[in-house]
C-alpha cells in the first residue's frame, strides 16, 4: 500500500518537484539564517569565550556588552582583589586602533591587552608560537585571518613588523582567536603595551578578570564584588547571556533575521500547501477509487500523510544538505565567515518546524479526501 502511495506521488512528477522545492527552500532559508544568527550571537561573546580561565568579569556599571567599554580607574583592580572569595584578579584592556603594515596596508584592529605577568584572558588557540611569545619586546599576536588580510597571499610567519598608532609592534605569534562581531584584525598583547598603543587618559582598565576561590560560586562572588565596589560583575556565563540579550534588544539583528526566517516558513508553507492541495484534487479520482476498492478513511489519511511526509523528508534532506554545504564551504577557518556552524539543535528545530508545516498543509487537503463521494466522482 505504501509502495502504491509512493508511485502515485512520483507519478505526478511536476508536483513532487514543486513540493520538494517548497520544503527544501524553507528548510535551507530557515536553517541557514537561524545558524547565521546563532553564529553572530556567538561572535558577540568572542572575548568571553576565548578567556577560558576566567570566572568573573568586572566592568564599569555602564557597560552592557564587550564591544562598548568604559575604562575604570586602575585602583579598582586592588579593590576587587580585596573582595573575599576572589582568588585572583587581573587587568584586561580592550580597545581599537588602526594597524598599518610596512607595505602601507591599513586595517582596523581590536587590541586586547592581557596581564603582563600571568597573560590571563589570552586566547588558548595559537597557530604559530604560544602565549609566552607575548613577553618579548614590542610583541603582539595577530589572528590568522587578520594576517591574511594584512599580507594577502603570504604564508603565515612571525617576525613581521606593524605600526599601531605610529608605534612599532612585532608579530611574534599567530592565533586562531574567536572572530569578533565586525571583521577586524584581532591583536593580543601585554596589558602595559596594549594600552600604550592608544591615546587614552589615565584610565585604561577595560575589564577586571577574576577567578572565584575553590568552592565559591562565581555568581555569588560576582554579587559580592558589586556590593563592595559598586562595579558591575558577572560570571562568564551571565556576561555571555547579558551580551546576547543586549544584542537581541538593542540591534536590528533579531528583526532582520526573524523576518527572513518567518518569510521562509510562510513562503514554504504556501508553496507546499498549494501544491499539495493541487496534487490531492487532481488525483481525487484515485483516492475515490481506493475508497471503492475498500480503503477506509483512516487508511486514506495515513496514505496522504505518508505522501506528505515523504515529500517533507526529501525536501528537508536537500535543504539541510545545502545549508550544511554552505557552512562547510563558505565558513572555513580562514574565511570571513569562520566560526559559523550549523548547530545540531537548529537542524532539529527546523525538522520540527517542517513537520508542522507539512501536517498543516496536508490538513486542508485531507478534508477533501475524506468527504469525496466516489459516486459523485464516477457518475458520468
Amino acid at each position: 500500500m505504501l509502495g502504491l502511495a509512493l508511485k502515485m506521488l512520483f507519478g505526478d512528477r511536476a508536483k513532487v518537484l514543486g513540493l520538494v522545492f517548497g520544503v527544501a527552500f524553507a528548510t535551507l532559508l530557515v536553517t541557514q539564517q537561524g545558524a547565521m544568527f546563532v553564529g553572530l550571537m556567538t561572535r558577540s561573546q568572542n572575548i568571553i569565550a576565548d578567556a577560558q580561565d576566567v570566572d568573573i568579569w568586572v566592568m564599569d556599571p555602564s557597560v552592557e556588552h564587550p564591544d562598548l567599554v568604559r575604562p575604570m580607574r586602575d585602583g579598582e583592580l586592588f579593590k576587587v582583589r580585596g573582595v573575599p572569595g576572589v582568588a585572583w584578579a587581573t587587568p584586561f584592556f580592550k580597545g581599537g586602533a588602526p594597524v598599518k603594515t610596512q607595505e602601507g596596508r591599513t586595517k582596523g584592529a581590536v587590541i586586547l591587552g592581557v596581564d603582563d605577568a600571568t597573560l590571563v584572558g589570552v586566547t588558548q588557540r595559537f597557530v604559530i608560537g604560544s602565549p609566552t611569545d607575548l613577553q618579548r619586546p614590542d610583541a603582539i599576536a595577530i589572528d590568522r585571518v587578520g594576517f591574511m588580510q594584512l599580507w594577502p597571499g603570504e604564508p603565515l610567519s612571525v617576525g613581521k613588523v606593524l605600526e599601531l598608532n605610529e608605534r612599532r609592534a612585532v608579530v611574534t605569534a599567530i592565533t586562531d582567536a574567536a572572530p569578533a562581531f565586525s571583521a577586524q584584525v584581532i591583536i593580543h598583547a601585554r596589558y602595559s603595551q596594549a594600552s600604550s598603543y592608544l591615546p587614552t587618559g589615565r584610565n585604561r582598565l577595560s575589564f577586571i578578570l577574576a577567578r572565584a576561590m575553590q568552592g565559591a560560586e562565581p555568581s555569588t562572588v560576582a554579587r559580592d564584588i558589586t556590593e563592595r565596589t559598586g562595579l558591575k560583575a558577572h560570571s562568564s556565563e551571565e556576561f555571555s547571556r547579558q551580551t546576547v540579550r543586549y544584542y537581541l534588544r538593542n540591534t536590528g539583528i533579531p528583526i532582520s533575521f526573524g523576518t527572513t526566517i518567518v518569510l521562509g516558513i510562510v513562503v514554504g508553507a504556501a508553496i507546499v500547501g498549494l501544491t499539495f492541495s493541487m496534487f490531492v484534487s487532481e488525483n481525487i479520482a484515485q483516492y475515490a477509487m481506493l475508497k471503492v476498492i475498500g480503503v477506509t478513511n483512516i487508511r486514506l489519511v495515513g496514505l496522504v500523510l505518508f505522501q506528505a511526509c515523504v515529500v517533507g523528508v526529501i525536501g528537508y534532506a536537500i535543504g539541510t544538505g545545502l545549508a550544511a554545504a554552505f557552512f562547510a564551504f563558505a565558513c572555513t577557518p580562514t574565511s570571513a565567515l569562520r566560526g559559523f556552524v550549523l548547530p545540531w539543535w537548529i537542524a532539529t528545530a527546523v525538522a520540527g518546524t517542517i513537520l508542522v508545516l507539512i501536517l498543516l498543509s496536508s490538513l486542508a487537503s485531507l478534508r477533501r479526501v475524506l468527504v469525496v463521494e466516489p459516486a459523485v466522482v464516477f457518475s458520468g
Partner: protein
C-alpha cells in the same frame, strides 16, 4: 422464472428512492426501484442515458446511501452495516468497474490489478503473482508491465475488469463496459464477464445501452426515468 433454490439472491433492491443534488437542483433520480440480481447469471440494466443507471449501481455498491427502501447483498442489508464495515464489505464482496475505469496511471497493469489484494493485506509478491495470472486470463499476458497510457482502450477495460475480479468478489458491477469499444473488443470483454457469471456463486450486473451486447444477458432490467419498467428473462442460454 426464479433462480435455482440453492443460491441466495445476490442483490435485492426494494423500493429504492434516491435524490441527488442539493437545494433547488435536488431531484429524485430513483423512484422506487425493485430489482433482483441472481448468482450464476448476467443481469443487464438497460436504459437511455440519464435514466439513473449509474445512480442505481452506486447505491447497490454502497457508494450512495438510499433515501428510502433497502439494498441487500447476499442477504446483508447495507443499511445495517457501519461505515467501516461497509467499506470492508464492499472491498471484499463487490468488484466495480466504472465507465472511466479509473486505473491508477502511475501503476503498471500488474500493479493496478494487485491493488485490491494489497488493500486486503496480502503480501506484495503473492498479490503480484495472482495479478499476473488474472491478466493472462483476460488475454493481456504481453502487457503485464505496461502503464495504462500504453494500452488501448479495450486493453484498459480488461485491466479494469481484471482488477474488479482479482479478489474474487461475489458481485461484479460494470458500468457501460463496451461503450468505448469496437464490436470485436466489446465481444471479448463480454465473453470474459460471461465466464465469470457462469460461476454459480457469483453474479454480474452490467449497465449498458449498447444493443450489440444484449445477446449476452440472462436477465434484462429495462430502466427509464428512474424506474424499472420491465424485466426480461432469457432461457435460450440454458437451452442452447
Amino acid at each position: 422464472m426464479t433462480a435455482p433454490d440453492r443460491n441466495p439472491i445476490a442483490v435485492s433492491c426494494r423500493g429504492l428512492v434516491k435524490q441527488l443534488g442539493s437545494g433547488s437542483i435536488r431531484t429524485r433520480v430513483l423512484h422506487g426501484i425493485d430489482l433482483d440480481v441472481f448468482p450464476g447469471e448476467m443481469t443487464f440494466l438497460l436504459g437511455p442515458s440519464g435514466c439513473g443507471k449509474t445512480t442505481l449501481i452506486s447505491t447497490i455498491a454502497g457508494l450512495l446511501v438510499a433515501d428510502e427502501g433497502k439494498v441487500e447483498l447476499f442477504g446483508t442489508n447495507l443499511a445495517e452495516l457501519g461505515r467501516r464495515s461497509l467499506v470492508h464489505f464492499r472491498g471484499a464482496g463487490v468488484g466495480v468497474v466504472f465507465q472511466q475505469l479509473n486505473l491508477f496511471p502511475a501503476l503498471t497493469a500488474t500493479e493496478n490489478v494487485a491493488v485490491p489484494l494489497l488493500v486486503q493485506g496480502r503480501a506484495g509478491a503473492s498479490a503480484k503473482a495472482l495479478a499476473q495470472a488474472m491478466l493472462r486470463e483476460v488475454g493481456l499476458e504481453t502487457h503485464l508491465t505496461k502503464y495504462p497510457s500504453q494500452l488501448s482502450i479495450g486493453e484498459r477495460q480488461r485491466v479494469a475488469i481484471a482488477r474488479a475480479l482479482i479478489h474474487e468478489p461475489r458481485l461484479i458491477i460494470c458500468d457501460e463496459p463496451t461503450s468505448a469499444l469496437d464490436g470485436a473488443s466489446g465481444q471479448r470483454v463480454m465473453e470474459l464477464l460471461r465466464k465469470v457469471a457462469r460461476d454459480p456463486g457469483r453474479a454480474v450486473l452490467v449497465v449498458t445501452h449498447d444493443a450489440r451486447i444484449v445477446p449476452f444477458a440472462d436477465r434484462i432490467a429495462h430502466m427509464s426515468d428512474g424506474r424499472i419498467t420491465r424485466i426480461d428473462v432469457r432461457t435460450e442460454r440454458e437451452a442452447a
